[in-house]
């Protein structure tokens, strides 16, 4: 038996005509007598962008450059038959976007592992690539572009004492990954986008790698995400959330409500919250002591946001981006694992948001689960 095996699985609800917005697609991963290798799960497929019935060629239609093909999948749920559901991420594209802007700069998109997702350093490049192949830059597409990305799910974020974490089939049972495709206007944006703009995914499959089960099991820790979506519509807002997870940080981004599912605006845009002058987090720490973080400066808000994702400080945040109301977020690294299952965490904001231009706030709680 080979030590290392590449495997792939097609959707349970296979559709030869492809999948479009709002479709649910289920993948079942079965690997008896073997162990799943951490960070080996990829979702692959091809994409065709259409305007009406015609394949897009010259139109100004974009997909988000930072997240590429992640944009097609609005919700991802992961279940193990022996354990149950371990993660359900809604607003998945925004999760990826939020993490990317806080941990990647444009040079990071000139790398194969991002380019294969259809991410790229410029929106123009992402758009061109997603529209498919042509020869010498002339004429219509001669073939759709494929993509391959590693979804940001628990099974791709395992850790253990050994260098290469693996999860045995004995322990997990079959793995089910269920995805729901995003609506067209959640993916596509730009001057040419209208009600007839759409995308179709074909040849969808999940690929993964396994090694033989050696009969040993070590404790596995997986990072997971819990997402909450809420709205603020006054200058003084209080967001209270009860999160069924043990978390190490929370990361937030916002979007003007009117920009959601708008053909012109990027649906995963992380827009500036106007005049944010005070940000306060209230929760109990591991010793049940009330912790209050009050942040009053913009630069600290941004640096705390970056730290909530990655401590390297490497990011896409810059004054240039802030001036254009892109790449803004806020968050907090708790500095320890906090059990939020039996308490309410509160985020208090003083901003320039009013009821005439309410904003949607997306909160992602970065937690861990153990197996």
């Amino acid at each position: 038996m080979s030590n290392y095996t590449y495997s792939e699985t097609i959707p349970d609800n296979f559709n030869p005509n492809g999948y479009t917005s709002f479709d649910n697609v289920d993948f079942m991963l079965s690997f008896p007598n073997r162990k799943l290798i951490n960070s080996s799960i990829r979702i692959c497929g091809t994409v065709v962008l259409k305007q009406g019935a015609a394949v897009v060629a010259d139109e100004f239609i974009f997909i988000d450059q930072d997240i590429g093909s992640n944009a097609f999948f609005s919700d991802i749920t992961t279940s193990l038959s022996n354990v149950g559901m371990i993660e359900s991420i809604s607003e998945y594209p925004r999760l990826v976007k939020t993490r990317r802007i806080a941990s990647k700069s444009y040079t990071d998109y000139l790398k194969a592992d991002k380019l294969v997702e259809l991410s790229s350093p410029t929106s123009m490049m992402s758009s061109s690539v997603a529209k498919g192949y042509t020869m010498n830059g002339v004429g219509p597409s001669i073939g759709p572009m494929d993509f391959s990305f590693k979804p940001l799910i628990s099974l791709n974020r395992m850790a253990s004492a050994s260098r290469a974490p693996t999860m045995s089939f004995r322990k997990s049972g079959a793995v089910r990954i269920s995805v729901r495709l995003a609506r067209n206007l959640a993916v596509l944006f730009g001057p040419s986008v209208d009600a007839t703009s759409s995308y179709t995914l074909t040849d969808l499959k999940v690929t993964y790698a396994t090694v033989p089960d050696d009969g040993t099991d070590e404790p596995i820790t997986m990072e997971n995400v819990t997402s909450i979506k809420t709205t603020i519509q006054s200058t003084s807002a209080n967001i209270a959330a009860q999160v069924p997870a043990i978390c190490r940080s929370m990361t937030c981004s916002a979007l003007v409500q009117d920009h959601e599912f708008s053909p012109v605006y990027n649906n995963v845009g992380c827009e500036n919250v106007p005049d944010m002058s005070r940000l306060q987090f209230l929760f109990n720490d591991s010793t049940n002591k009330l912790v209050t973080y009050q942040i009053n400066s913009q630069s600290e808000i941004l640096s705390r946001f970056v730290e909530s994702v990655d401590r390297s400080g490497h990011s896409s945040l810059s004054p240039w981006h802030q001036c254009r109301s892109t790449n803004f977020g806020f968050g907090l690294d708790f500095g320890q694992f906090i059990d939020l299952r039996n308490q309410t965490i509160q985020v208090q904001l003083t901003t320039g948001v009013t009821s005439t231009a309410p904003m949607i706030v997306f909160l992602y709680f970065n937690g861990i689960i153990q197996m």
Binding site: S2, N3, Y4, Y6, S7, E8, S40, R42, C44, T46, V56, A57, D58, F60, S105, Y106, T107, D108, L110, K111, A112, D113, L115, V116, E117, L118, S120, P121, T122, M124, M125, S127, S128, V129, K131, G132, Y133, T134, M135, N136, G137, V138, G139, P140, S141, I142, G143, M145, D146, F147, S148, D203, T207, A209, H314
Partner: protein
Amino acid sequence: MSIKTKLIDPSIYSETSSLCVFELGDYNTTYLSSMRLMNLGVHGDDLTDDDRYNSQAGILSMIKNITLFDGSVVLSQLNSANVWGSFKSVNRDNSDAFTMRHMYQDATALSVQSRIGDNLDDSAVLQNPQFPRISNYNEWLDLNGAPLETEALSAKGYVDLRVLLKGLQNIRYLPTMIFKSLRLEIIFDTSPSVVLADVTNSGAGIASCRPVLMVDCVNDMETQMEMLQSMRQVVFDEIEVERSVLNAVGGALGDRSTEQNYILKNYDNKYVKRLLIAACPTGDDVFLDDPATTVDGGGALGAMALYQANLQVVSNGSNVLPGGGLTKANEIMATCTDAWGDISTSPFSYLGGYIFCGLAEECDQTNVPDKVKQTTFLTRAYMGLRVEANVSNLQVNLSRETTAIKKLDGVRNLHVFGEVTKVLEIADDMTYNIRYI
């Protein structure tokens, strides 16, 4: 412990010969594996400030084969070292390549970066944001000069031999008590189209600069004995290569070539961890322009994209890749990065050499400067995967489709690099044995 650093001149070398030999024969000395090959470069009578080394492989482009011998025993070896070096120069985090660390650490080609809007000499390109040219950029070489008329004037670089001789990453000590007749043999390639980024000024020919080997060594016996104790058995990986030819494709646009099957005999009875496949252009296909002067990306050392390639690897009679193998460009590249780590590249560099279906201006040929059309053919379309098996029969099956672009359809030199595992065992009587596992 005192470590001495020595400079060793070649015992065999001439500018007109491709062979260069260094002998490491000091008695009762232990050489450390941190050997650096210095003063690497070329010079030529007509070379000017505008000339540059191969933009992907830098001065590594001139090392064709390199072998570390002990007498007649091969301790570590890499053939097609310049093709491998070309890969290693982009096999890294792109942001990391921007840092000073790599400029100093790998003052050769190993700081190649992918950038947008850089290295541009065509104002039309600069003003056209639809075509951010992705450059194969080597900051260090640009800052520090060019290959010029004489050895003294030419820009030169160095390479840590552990980059090329992977075995030296694990065989950290080379005691002459055990390895009594150490010898480093290098075969240089000084073909202008391989070493230089432009062959315009190489009509009078180019010659290598005289290299120097820098070694760190220990003479203290007590320390040497401690080192010996730590290396009774050393498991190490080595990069081996099998070369073949990928036939040209013809016919109408989209016609698929007959699948070519390569039986890789070189890997029989070895444990193969990973494979890396580079389909390198040949002849005039290595150039951007006509007449052929400017080398495209890594040129003959780079991996040019194969249009709609289908790749399958068969190990011991079983397909390594599920289904029909890898049939899509991004999937092929994704599998390669999963196996070998990240690759600094751009979409133009591996997606079959296409310009993409874009906006109105992009699709209008008159708005596309020739330089931009040409520079879309960068050469980083590597294919790779994990095998992780004891191999008794290893085969690669490859096919591709015809394009509308002649150079994409041409003959390729196929380099299949395999990472194999070996073990060095040292007996009490100081004899040793190297075998595959």
